[in-house]
């Protein structure tokens, strides 16, 4: 295909991406986020699959068999099995306003700047060749599809122009000015789209090549038996295992993955579903790696084409231009996605962790440019992005024909994997120290460099070579184990500073204190309000800084008139600054402004505890308030019914003087009944309130429950007859004369409540209610049993709550819904208990158990 068509296509592709990103940003402004959902989150995680995946894994299968799978299996396992760990990282990053991996680790170990610098340098060291790899993939695929051979100087290379377009794209959408969140709505949306494109492209080429140009899987397997590709693990299971470990632990520490997974996530909830969507993506994108590898070997091995380009070479071999273009765009999207996110993440690390601390040391410069610090950083970040891409390009040109995609990728993985031991252990083990982390990471990194670089300088490392391991896995084995060992042993041998201990405590216990951490002030000291304001203004502009301060002060009712700032303001300022410059640099800025005192861990725990207790009691109060409101609504509602009848019936009698005397009598009787109901209700409400408040007076004496039951039953003789209910009082035979302590009248009330409930629940004619007494060594139990409609066991707890009436189709006598609630309170006040045994249609048995005197 002609060079300019492909170049134009690539630029148009970037243009569309840019348009989509800008559109998403615009939507976000209208507060409708396109990326705040599990799908886009999972797709953005697929940024893990770079050009190395797109082109490299097919290359690897045709040279190295199944070992390519570890690269996918690792992150898949992390998302499925280490889900809780990812969530912990996300939570911590959110609370501490962490913006990159260097920030994350250095914040854990006492906001130590030096650690952040080392991590940044190592990340750059690992990242640049990796970005170079992507540029190489773009360039090679470009050359292959356009049939051109690069010649002349670099600026005559057409793919060089593509890199410039890409760089511009990143510069426009990348670094944020005056925004502390480090969130790139549009960019993430674009990345999500790119993930879809690369998946579709890969599936398309796989499917068409397998089923259209050949006769499905079986024919490929036949060919494979001729091809000397071994499905067997080359190098044995030891290799496989080490490679799996490297791919798993490095996943989250790749700067771009950390950025999308931890920094850009909108809601923690999205992680839950992403933990299966992402693995699914990984399965899909691997579906056709094997057939493509075999087919590539069969058709292209003899042509001498680099196996990494088989994916693109195959459609060209079959002269399918459209498919080749699709593949090219898929690969282009895989490469650009990686380059975009990686450069943004690394530039943020360089500026926050490497450059800012240096800049801040030059006090004179800072003071002179206080107003412009935000813009300076903004421009510096852009500069860093250009430098990073430039270095990556240089790296790729220099090493052009030197290594294949996979080995650079794996080396990169291995290097960032060195961050894993101290970070993973550091999130669960409080005693991990700064020096431990520093030594672990340095030891691991140096071992990697030694084992991988020395051979190329002609120095043999065979003495350290474990038989059967390939060089990268060998280095992985030694570096990761000694890294872990160094971290643990140095941590045990060294002591934490107060600051370190605080951070360790906050990281390890993040879930316990999430809310408290947002509120509690873990700072003590003095800082001038004016200085804080100026520091903030430097990054977000004077106006925004001032509004922000005012809002915060108003929210927390802090006066802004004092010379020295409230500790909460200092805390908040540091958090805001952390969004711009990372938490270690924010710490530096604040400590330059403020004189602070150290707070010990026990004090931190104490402060957090207090803040949490306050929240708890606040929560309880709110709950109580809601209950009270509900109660009030229900009471007024219950009162409305009798008032309605009384009003309506009285009005009838006023308006209709000619009313039939029988009707008049019926109406007046109803009015009296309803008035009684009303006063009963009011009394019950008052009773309940008194019982709730513990103000109800109990006249305690030794009483015979037989007498209580007899007195209560007297009220029902007439009613039972009227309702055709057989009320059986079965207590006289077993008089033991043992008494309970109680208030006679109140207990009578309880029994009345229960009998009247029973009458409501039985069918006239066949209804039977039995009241019995039973005795144990310590208690006497009143049993009231009916053969009515019964109560569904799921309501058994509810019926004792205020106004909880279970829907009863036979409701004949009005009940307030307070009887059982009052009964329960009375019985419990007398150290007794009340229960129900029943199921639907089986009648009900209420048991009142009271202790014997």
């Amino acid at each position: 295909m002609s060079t300019w068509i492909i170049a134009l296509l690539s630029v148009v592709y970037l243009g569309i991406l840019f348009f989509l990103a800008a559109w998403a940003e615009k939507k976000k402004v209208r507060s409708k986020s396109l990326i705040n959902n599990p799908l886009i989150y999972a797709l953005s995680l697929a940024i893990y699959c770079s050009a190395w995946t797109f082109y490299g894994s097919v290359g690897q299968v045709s040279t190295g068999g199944m070992s390519f799978l570890t690269v996918y299996l690792g992150p898949t396992l992390v998302m499925i099995l280490a889900w809780g760990f990812v969530r912990k990282m996300i939570r911590i990053a959110k609370i501490h306003h962490i913006t990159n991996i260097a920030d994350f680790i250095s914040t854990r170990f006492g906001k130590d700047n030096r650690l952040g610098q080392i991590i940044t340098l190592i990340s750059v060291f690992a990242g640049i060749p990796y970005i170079g790899l992507q540029l190489k993939a773009i360039s090679q695929s470009f050359d292959l599809i356009t049939h051109s051979t690069p010649e002349g100087t670099f600026y005559q290379d057409p793919s060089f122009l593509l890199f410039i377009a890409l760089t511009l794209f990143i510069l426009v959408l990348g670094p944020r000015k005056f925004d502390s969140s480090e969130k790139h709505e549009g960019m993430i949306f674009a990345i999500g789209i790119e993930s879809i494109i690369k998946l579709i492209a890969f599936l398309a080429v796989g499917f068409i090549l397998t089923y259209y140009f050949q006769e499905g899987w079986s024919s490929i397997v036949d060919q494979a038996s001729i091809a000397p590709i071994s499905l067997k693990n080359q190098g044995g299971y030891g290799n496989w295992f080490i490679q799996l470990v490297i791919c798993s632990v490095s996943f989250l520490f790749l700067p771009r993955v950390f950025h999308v997974a931890v920094v850009e996530i909108n809601e923690e909830e999205n992680l839950k579903q992403a933990s299966w969507i992402f693995p699914l993506y990984m399965v899909l994108i691997n579906l056709f790696v094997l057939p493509l590898g075999y087919a590539g070997y069969t058709y292209l091995h003899s042509s001498g084409l680099n196996p990494d380009l088989y994916v693109l070479g195959l459609p060209l071999h079959f002269s399918s231009t459209t498919l080749a273009v699709i593949v090219y765009i898929g690969g282009f999207s895989a490469a650009t996605g990686m380059v975009i996110m990686e450069t943004i993440a690394i530039s943020s690390m360089i500026s926050n962790n490497l450059f800012m601390p240096l800049l801040l040391q030059r006090k004179a410069f800072v003071e002179r440019n206080q107003e412009k610090l935000g813009s300076i950083i903004h421009n510096l970040r852009r500069l860093f992005i250009v430098i990073i891409i430039g270095m990556a390009y240089a790296h790729y040109r220099i090493n052009e024909n030197f290594v294949n995609l996979v080995s650079i990728g794996m080396t990169s993985f291995l290097i960032v994997a060195q961050f894993a031991p101290s970070t993973i252990l550091g999130l669960y083990w409080k005693n991990g120290t700064r020096l431990g982390a520093l030594s672990g990471i340095l030891v691991g990194f140096l071992i990697c460099c030694a084992l991988l670089l020395l051979p190329s300088l002609g120095i043999s490392v065979d003495n350290f070579r474990i038989p059967g391991f390939n060089p990268i896995n060998n280095a992985g084995y030694w570096s990761l184990s000694l890294n872990t060992f160094a971290f643990i042993s140095v941590s045990i041998l060294t002591k934490q500073s107060a600051k370190e201990a605080n951070q360790a405590y906050l990281f390890v216990n993040v879930f316990e204190y999430t809310q408290s951490l947002e509120d509690a002030t873990l700072w003590r000291g003095k800082a001038k309000l004016k200085d804080l304001k100026n520091a903030l203004a430097g990054f977000m502009g004077k106006l925004k800084a001032e509004t922000n301060l005012k809002q915060f002060a108003a929210l927390h009712q802090i006066s802004l008139q004092e010379t020295y700032a409230d500790p909460r303001i200092v805390n908040n300022t540091e958090k805001m600054l952390a969004g711009f410059v990372g938490s270690t640099s924010a710490r530096l800025i604040i400590s330059a402004i403020a004189k602070e005192e150290n707070i010990g861990v026990s004090e931190v725990v104490d402060l957090l505890q207090k803040s949490r207790d306050l929240q708890q009691s606040n929560l309880n109060l709110r709950k109580l308030d809601a209950q009270k409101n509900e109660f009030l609504t229900t009471v007024t509602h219950e009162i409305r019914s009798p008032i309605t009848s009384i009003r309506s019936l009285s009005e009838i009698m006023v308006d209709h003087e000619d009313i039939d005397p029988e009707d008049r009598k019926k109406f007046l009787e109803t009015i009296i009944q309803e008035s009684d109901r009303l006063s009963r209700l009011v009394n019950q409400v008052l009773d309940l309130e008194k019982l709730d408040a513990g103000k109800q007076k109990f006249k305690l004496e030794a009483i015979l429950l037989e007498e209580v039951i007899e007195k209560a039953a007297q009220n029902f003789i007439a009613i039972a007859k009227q309702n055709q209910v057989n009320l059986l009082i079965d207590v006289s035979q077993k008089r033991t004369q043992r008494k309970v302590i109680g208030d006679f009248e109140k207990l009578v009330q309880v029994v009345i409540n229960l009998i009247s409930n029973a009458i409501k629940n039985v069918e006239p004619g066949i209804g039977r209610i039995t009241v019995r007494l039973k005795e144990s060594a310590t208690h006497i139990c009143v049993e009231i049993e009916d053969n009515g409609i019964g109560i569904d066991p799921k309501f058994h707890d509810q019926i004792f709550e205020k106004f909880k009436q279970v829907d009863n189709p036979n409701r004949k006598i009005e009940s307030s819904g307070l009887g059982l609630s009052i009964s329960k309170k009375i019985v419990e006040h007398l150290q007794g208990s009340i229960h129900v045994q029943s199921s639907l249609g089986q009648g009900a048995l209420f048991l009142i158990k009271l202790p014997i005197e």
Binding site: R640, S641, T644, R647, S648, L649, P809
Partner: protein
């Protein structure tokens, strides 16, 4: 006119029954939602006065079932309820009520409103 009144409070049922008869309407009364629906299906009353909180099927349920009965059957529906919050009233109208009368109500008012409603149709 034929009116159905459904309420689980016997006293309210008694007074509304008397009131509507005096006005010359033919009245059917129901003690719960199920009974109400049976009567509606059988008698197709022109006006349905419904309490909201009733056993078995609540007023909203009765209302929607009555409206779904047949396209040609268009009863006027009046809710009478002790639920008097704005949100409750709004919900009543959303459920398809023609009128929402909070309890307690004045007989004269209610009659006037029923009359007006009748004129509209």
């Amino acid at each position: 006119m034929r009116i159905l009144i459904a309420d689980d409070e016997p006293a309210i049922l008694m007074s509304l029954d008397f009131l509507m008869r005096k006005e010359g309407h033919q009245v059917y009364v129901a003690r719960d939602g199920e009974e109400a629906i049976q009567l509606i299906e059988k008698e197709l009353p022109e006006v349905i006065i419904l309490d909201i909180m009733m056993p078995k099927i609540d007023g909203y349920g009765v209302c929607s079932q009555a409206k779904a009965l047949s396209p040609s059957y268009l009863p006027k529906i009046i809710f009478i309820s002790a639920k008097i919050a704005d949100s409750d009233i709004e919900r009543g109208y959303q459920a398809g009520a023609d009128l929402y009368v909070p309890k307690p109500f004045s007989n004269r008012d209610l009659l006037k409103k029923v009359h007006e409603l009748n004129l509209q149709s």
